[in-house]
């Protein structure tokens, strides 16, 4: 090795060091995505929760917890437009047994709220459970929040979601006409008030804005059955694919990124995921995500 070579390699090494260091660190700190599979939905939901550390990791005794499913459409369970009621109920049960003081389940629905709550099966699944609220949205509870985002400077968000100790995001994996897929990041639209359709004109940036403000402590994607076309409300059983999977992660972007593969797509195909990744909300590169199947 002559001097010139030495300087070359030394310089290269110096330049590379931080990157290599980052790589090494990332390997240690890779976000975990759990995929539970099975026909018994309460069982796989529970397994997924346990594999990310158990509900006690998120919910402390006396906490108020918001469990936010997608129940925006007046569609029955098998049509895969709303989160499966058994998945929702299991998450709620786990919260309660972890010591939650109150669990609130709601969604700002697209169809008539009464019909959505009934026909999604979720209201019925939660009926009679103690310390569980499954109320319709009350518009007076929306609070204007300064987001100072790139697209949304401020927006009305639901105060029960803002004031909860723990926010658990329980979307269903679905096709969507505009954003291609709707997963965890898009499910937070259900806590938005006002003229929500407005954000469609810049939806990936807008959702990054909202998700930067309202962090999901745990994202649990219902892929027991997914809607592969004519989303987000479908209506045709032929568009539904039964996968018997539940995906859990504390990293909402990683959860969404993995769920994307269920549709045969890459995370980079979904602008909402890319935008959130760029914003630093989580990891979307599959090779930097640790996937554990249980």
């Amino acid at each position: 090795m002559d001097r010139r070579e030495f300087i070359k390699s030394a310089g290269a090494f110096t330049l590379m060091t931080p990157i290599l260091f980052k790589e090494a660190l990332a390997a240690m700190d890779q976000p975990l995505v759990v995929v539970a599979e099975g026909r018994d939905y309460p069982v796989i939901t529970r397994r997924a929760i346990n594999a990310v550390g158990g509900m006690k990791r998120f919910v402390k005794r006396g906490d108020v917890v918001v469990v936010k499913p997608n129940m925006g459409w007046d569609r029955s369970v098998e049509l895969a437009a709303n989160t499966h009621p058994l998945v929702v109920r299991t998450v709620v049960e786990e919260c309660l047994s972890a010591g939650a003081r109150k669990v609130k389940v709601f969604d700002n629905t697209c169809n008539d709220a009464r019909r959505c709550y009934v026909n999604s099966g979720i209201e019925n699944a939660l009926e009679g459970m103690k310390n569980v609220e499954c109320k319709h949205i009350e518009t007076e509870r929306f609070k204007k929040v300064a987001l100072n985002g790139q697209f949304l400077k401020e927006w009305e968000l639901y105060d029960e979601a803002l004031s909860a100790n723990v926010y658990i995001n329980v979307p269903i994996a679905k096709h969507h006409g505009l954003s291609k897929l709707t997963l965890g990041l898009k499910n937070v639209m259900g806590v938005m008030g006002g003229n929500r359709g407005f954000i469609h004109r810049n939806i990936d940036v807008a959702l990054a804005d909202i998700n930067s403000h309202l962090k999901s402590h745990l994202t649990l994607i219902d892929a027991t059955r997914i809607l592969t076309a004519h989303g987000p409300q479908g209506g045709n059983i032929a568009d539904v694919k039964v996968l018997n999977k539940v995906i859990a992660s504390t990293d909402i972007v990683a959860a969404d990124a993995f769920a994307t593969t269920l549709f045969g797509m890459k995370p980079a195909d979904i602008p909402v995921t890319v935008s959130a990744y760029k914003r630093g909300l989580g990891e979307m590169n599959l090779d930097r995500i640790k996937v554990v199947r249980v």
């Binding site: 169809n111 359709g197 045709n236």
Partner: protein
């Protein structure tokens, strides 16, 4: 308390109960609705038969009521009519002056006969002056929304005052909300007019008791005519020479010296209050009737002629109004609908998304109070069939949900001057997202466009698949463009139902039947 009074109160309670029940409360079917009162209404029956010139089994109760009136007389007014009961409850608090002369004589026939005759000429106006409809519209369009708004404002005010702590009293409010209050606060056009009409009927009590009932009400007048030959009579027919107490006791007819059977509402106050216990109501065939029989040839012919004169000019409607004449789902023919619609307001009360509103002048004079769908205010919910269920005459057909979904209300049309992908070359597609047709009646194609900022981007441009659009209006309802929407539903002449998608025939979900046991 007399049996009549007990019956009155009972029916008033039933009426209010059914009124409150005429709303979605978690079930797709409404078993008992306030339409029962209209279905047993002889005036509705006659005008329907005259106008539609066909039979419907929905109105069988009205046939029975007609027969009962033949046999018994005008008992409906003194035993059942909720408006009459309300008048009876209020009238003691109103001091009376002298009866209005103008209302006496043939006035009521001048109302009834033109209404029936106009029906023959295809103009069905019976609902305008039907007492049940007057009461129901006053309740639906003003009083009930007012109750809802007051309660909700109070509830919201409490939140502003004490915030989250409001939750401690939530169970009480929820009970009220789930069982009594309207789900949504809605303002209706013609609310004021509807309330004024009801108020006028009540205020007429200033002049004499049951003023509306004896001098104006077309349903009462019709029943009076029907019951005039009933074998069921008050005995004795006239006043007794030594007493005359009936003059004071009778709410309707004895102030003119004798009993006018057409006005007797069989409340039996006279029997109940007779100091000598001489009065009885019983079958008796020997009673001679002394008042003139028919309202008079002049009134009869004049009434028929004025019905005709009313029916023809009322048809006028300026053609541009037709474009937004959106009727409830299942109504395929405007003329046929107008012949059958009672204008009772029940469909508007029950409409899940408050999409239906009473027409003021949009449908012409003949269409006043008929239901119109205004998509910007509410849309027709894909899986809902409530309006057809509560329509008392089947003007809105009662269809199973899989048929109703395919019924065409109108067709959606984009307005490229407003719709964002066209007008501003940016993404939107909220309409496509909400379109409930499983195969999507609104679709989009990706286009590379140079935006007005000079940047080239891919934009999704929407278009309507007209052959599968049912005109439910959700696209117009959710369109995020402010005030005027970028997509609008327009009426169409050909409302043949959209074809059932081949791939999904028979497999469309029947909402509510989830197939999963979630317990």
């Amino acid at each position: 308390m007399t049996s009549a009074r007990i019956s009155q109160l009972l029916f008033l309670v039933i009426f209010i109960f059914l009124f409150v029940m005429t709303e979605y409360r978690g079930h797709d079917e409404i078993n008992a609705a306030v339409n029962s009162f209209f279905r047993a209404d002889p005036l509705v029956l006659l005008s329907y038969l005259f106008a539609a010139k066909e039979w419907t089994w929905l109105l069988l109760p009205a046939v029975l009521m007609t027969l009962a009136t033949f046999l018994l007389g005008r008992f409906f007014c003194g035993w059942i009519c909720p408006l009459g009961t309300i008048l009876d409850l209020i009238t003691p608090t109103i001091r009376k002056s002298v009866p209005i002369r103008m209302l006496k004589g043939n006035t009521k026939y001048w109302l009834l006969i033109p209404i029936l005759s106009a029906s023959l000429f295809n103009l069905n106006l019976s609902g305008l002056l039907d007492p049940i409809a007057i009461l129901l519209r006053g309740l639906t369009f003003l009083l009930y929304p007012l109750l809802g708004m007051t309660a909700r404002e109070g509830w919201v005010g409490l939140y502003r005052l004490i915030g989250e702590r409001r939750d401690t009293v939530a169970p009480a409010y929820n009970l009220l909300r789930d069982n009594l209050l309207p789900f949504r606060d809605t303002m209706y056009p013609l609310a004021f007019l509807s309330a004024i009409i009801l108020l006028v009927v009540i205020l007429l009590e200033r002049y004499e008791t049951r003023n509306w009932c004896r001098n104006l009400c077309p349903l009462g007048t019709l029943m009076g005519l029907l019951g005039r030959f009933s074998p069921f009579n008050r005995v004795p027919l006239g006043l007794c020479g030594d007493c005359g107490q009936c003059r004071e006791l009778c709410p309707t007819t004895f102030d003119q010296g004798g009993l006018n059977k057409e006005e007797c509402i069989l409340c039996m106050e006279c029997e109940h209050g007779c100091p000598n216990a001489r009065i009885s109501f019983r079958p008796s065939f020997r009673v001679k009737y002394q008042l003139p029989l028919i309202p008079g040839r002049r009134v009869l012919l004049g009434g028929i002629a004025s019905g005709l004169l009313l029916a023809v000019p009322a048809r006028f409607r300026s053609p541009e109004k037709d474009s937004r004449l959106l009727r409830p789902p299942g109504v395929r023919d405007e003329d046929n609908f107008l012949k059958k619609c009672v204008r009772c307001g029940e469909c508007m009360k029950v409409c899940l998304k408050n999409a239906l509103y009473p027409s003021a002048w949009q449908a012409g004079v003949e269409g006043i109070y008929t239901p119109l769908l205004i998509p910007r205010l509410g849309y027709c919910e894909f899986n809902c069939t409530l309006c057809g269920q509560v329509c008392p005459t089947g003007a809105i057909p009662n269809l199973p949900v899989f048929k109703k979904r395919r019924e065409v209300i109108g067709k959606a049309v984009f307005d490229k001057n407003h719709c964002l992908p066209f007008a501003k070359r940016i993404d939107c597609i909220v309409c496509e997202e909400h379109c409930p047709i499983p195969d999507k009646a609104i679709r989009s194609r990706e286009l590379k466009l140079t935006g007005f900022d000079g940047v080239v981007r891919t934009v999704k441009e929407p278009y309507v698949m007209e052959e599968i659009c049912n005109g439910c209006g959700i696209c117009e309802f959710v369109c995020p463009v402010e005030t005027k929407a970028g997509i609008e539903v327009f009426a169409v002449k050909n409302r043949a139902p959209i074809a059932e998608p081949a791939a999904t025939a028979g497999t469309l979900d029947v909402s509510g039947q989830t197939g999963y046991d979630v317990r």
